[in-house]
């Protein structure tokens, strides 16, 4: 396995764990961890924004990953 592939595996794992930590933080009743609450946004706003980012984030990340893999396959 090439070093870049190994690094990519670790980056994926870290990103997924990051998403997981983000969700748990939000779910466990700590919306203040999100900067919006510190700036006085309502719980409703934070909830909708947080939920939307958390739902869309992994989709965007996976789309970029698939694109990179496709390009790598072409390069090889």
């Amino acid at each position: 396995m090439r070093r870049t592939d190994k690094n990519r595996g670790w980056i994926h794992a870290v990103v997924i764990l990051g998403f997981l930590a983000l969700f748990i933080a939000g779910m466990a009743g700590w919306p203040e961890v999100f900067a919006l609450r510190l700036f006085g946004a309502s719980y409703l706003t934070v909830g909708i924004l947080f939920g939307s980012v958390a739902i869309i984030g992994p989709v965007v990340f996976t789309a970029l990953h698939n694109r990179a893999r496709k390009q790598a396959d072409v390069d090889v």
Partner: protein, 535 residues
């Protein structure tokens, strides 16, 4: 045999029509028409697929010839069950913010599948996740474990779909809950027994497109009801909800940190370990198509989940809460909270749209139960019968026959359990079903695909302990011990036990593999180099 299929099916239809003609129920002509149209379309699909399903590969994985995009739509269909459309809206309706845990989990789960699993699944398996976990370890006992885990998790998942279908048909046609459950059970047996994976895939594709379209229209009509003014929608939701502003704050499910962690781990790892979802990655020709499938599924699921979060659930709170037309004499929502999105569709779109959305929900449930039944039947026929009992001596025809017989038995069991669990919250039951998949299947898969130190002994001890602890915690917990069996207090007082059983499985697999000094353990480690060295 498949030519007799429609005759058997249509003997069931008069029961529905007759029930709908009964004088004391909520009849809806459009709903009945849509309902019968869904059944008709799916039967035609099954009839056509049945003629093209002969070999075991065609029965289990449609010959591996489904395209990435088609498979992605079917994968989204496999995931978006009664829980997505009915249960999650119901959870947000009742408990507010915390319900979005259920909306977020699939995005992470599909990302994990696309990024970490698809390539290795394809390289190590053929039909199912059992192939993967038995590839580098001693096959017979591993297949028994994997098949047991598949059967338990898939049947638990089947039960909740039955609960949703029963409630839906009961509200729609006023027919008895038990009859509704029997009807759904009979249909799912027909789809799977006759059409195999090809029929199941096309039923899923049809249903997924219907569901996404239905959700888009429901969101549009909900916004239209408020003049496209989201602020007005949210203001009315806040004003109507019994908890007021508290419903948008975390804590509605009263989970606490460990409870939230347990629920989210159970949902995410359970989805990743769901046999009927993993099976989909074998129906495409190559790994690239498998990754594309995961992405297409993620996009569709994300669109539906976003619409539920931002528009549909708040609109349900704003328009169904306190609406006397949809409350029974005790003040509860007619048909239970699971029906709020169906009631919302009638409020914003009238009886025609109610009929359409009910048919969509029914199609959703039918398709998911078909996928689950297929996964369960393959565990019996491919893992237990062909590989363990017949020691690879069974012909393909025999294997497919056993799978069809198993489908009938599994359908019967799902009907009995579906009746026993009447009235339970669907999304809650999802969490429990996924607990089993997360505790037994997921640890085995991850270790099989990534850890060279895994041995047969470690996998068996940890896998069985994960499975048994998950089932024990669920049975002894509030959902079964109190709500179904009627005891006053649960023996294991944790509503979401996934975290405990997942930790037990991971720790025991590692521990018993790490200290396995047997000759077989050494062979397992050597074989791991052959399988994992290619990545």
């Amino acid at each position: 045999m498949y030519k007799r299929l429609p005759i058997g099916l249509f003997t069931l239809v008069p029961a529905v029509v007759e029930a709908a003609d009964a004088p004391n129920e909520t009849t809806n002509t459009v709903a009945i028409f849509c309902f019968l149209a869904v059944i008709g379309i799916t039967v035609v699909i099954t009839y056509r697929a049945a003629g093209r399903t002969r070999s075991a590969s065609e029965f289990y994985v449609a010959g591996g010839q489904i395209s990435g995009t088609q498979n992605g739509i079917a994968l989204a269909g496999d995931f978006m069950s009664a829980a997505t459309m009915l249960g999650i809206t119901a959870i947000i309706f009742g408990s507010g913010f915390d319900g979005i845990i259920y909306l977020i989990a699939p995005s992470v789960a599909f990302a994990m599948m696309a990024l970490l699993m698809t390539d290795r699944l394809r390289a190590m398996g053929r039909y199912s996740f059992s192939d993967v976990v038995s590839a580098r370890l001693r096959a017979p006992p591993m297949r028994v474990l994997a098949a047991s885990a598949t059967l338990v998790s898939a049947i638990m998942y089947l039960v909740l779909q039955m609960v949703g279908a029963g409630a839906l048909v009961q509200v729609l046609f006023g027919i008895d809950y038990k009859l509704a459950v029997i009807l759904v059970g009979a249909l799912m047996v027909i789809y799977v027994a006759f059409g195999g994976m090809l029929a199941t895939t096309w039923v899923q594709i049809t249903k997924a497109l219907m569901l996404v379209s239905g959700i888009l229209v429901l969101a549009f009509l909900s916004l239209l009801a408020f003049g496209f003014d989201l602020e007005a929608l949210y203001a009315q939701a806040l004003a109507r909800h019994p908890k007021g502003e508290l419903f948008v704050r975390p804590g509605g499910l009263d989970l606490g940190f460990w409870g939230a962690l347990s629920l989210i781990c159970g949902l995410i790892f359970g989805l990743v370990g769901s046999p009927h979802i993993l099976m989909r990655f074998f129906t495409v020709p190559d790994a690239r198509s498998a990754r594309q499938s995961a992405l297409v599924a993620m996009i569709l699921v994300a669109v539906v989940n976003l619409l539920i979060l931002v528009i549909i659930a708040p609109a349900a709170i704003a328009l169904v809460t306190g609406n006397a037309q949809y409350l029974d004499e005790t003040g509860a929502v007619l048909g239970g909270a699971n029906m709020v999105s169906i009631h919302l569709s009638e409020i914003v779109g009238g009886s025609v749209f109610l009929g359409v959305m009910s048919a969509v929900a029914f199609a959703t449930i039918l398709a998911v139960v078909a996928g689950l039944t297929l996964a369960s039947a393959s565990a019996v026929s491919h893992d237990l019968w062909a590989n363990v009992i017949r020691r690879n001596q069974a012909g393909e025809g025999e294997e497919v026959l056993v799978s069809r017989i198993a489908t009938g038995f599994i359908g019967g069991l799902a009907i009995v359990l579906g009746i026993a669990f009447e009235g339970q919250n669907i999304a809650y039951l999802v969490a429990l079903a996924l607990t089993v998949a997360a505790s037994a299947n997921f640890p085995l898969l991850i270790y099989s695909m990534y850890w060279r130190g895994l041995t047969t002994r470690g996998a068996l001890v940890g896998g069985w302990l994960g499975l048994l602890s998950a089932v024990s915690f669920v049975v002894l917990g509030p959902a079964v011990w109190v709500n179904v069996l009627g005891f006053a207090e649960p023996v294991f007082p944790v509503s979401y036990p996934a975290l405990y059983s997942i930790v037990i499985a991971f720790a025991c697999i590692w521990l018993f593999s790490r200290f396995d000094r047997s000759a077989e353990g050494q062979k397992d480690r050597e074989r791991a180099r052959e399988y994992l060295g290619q990545f």
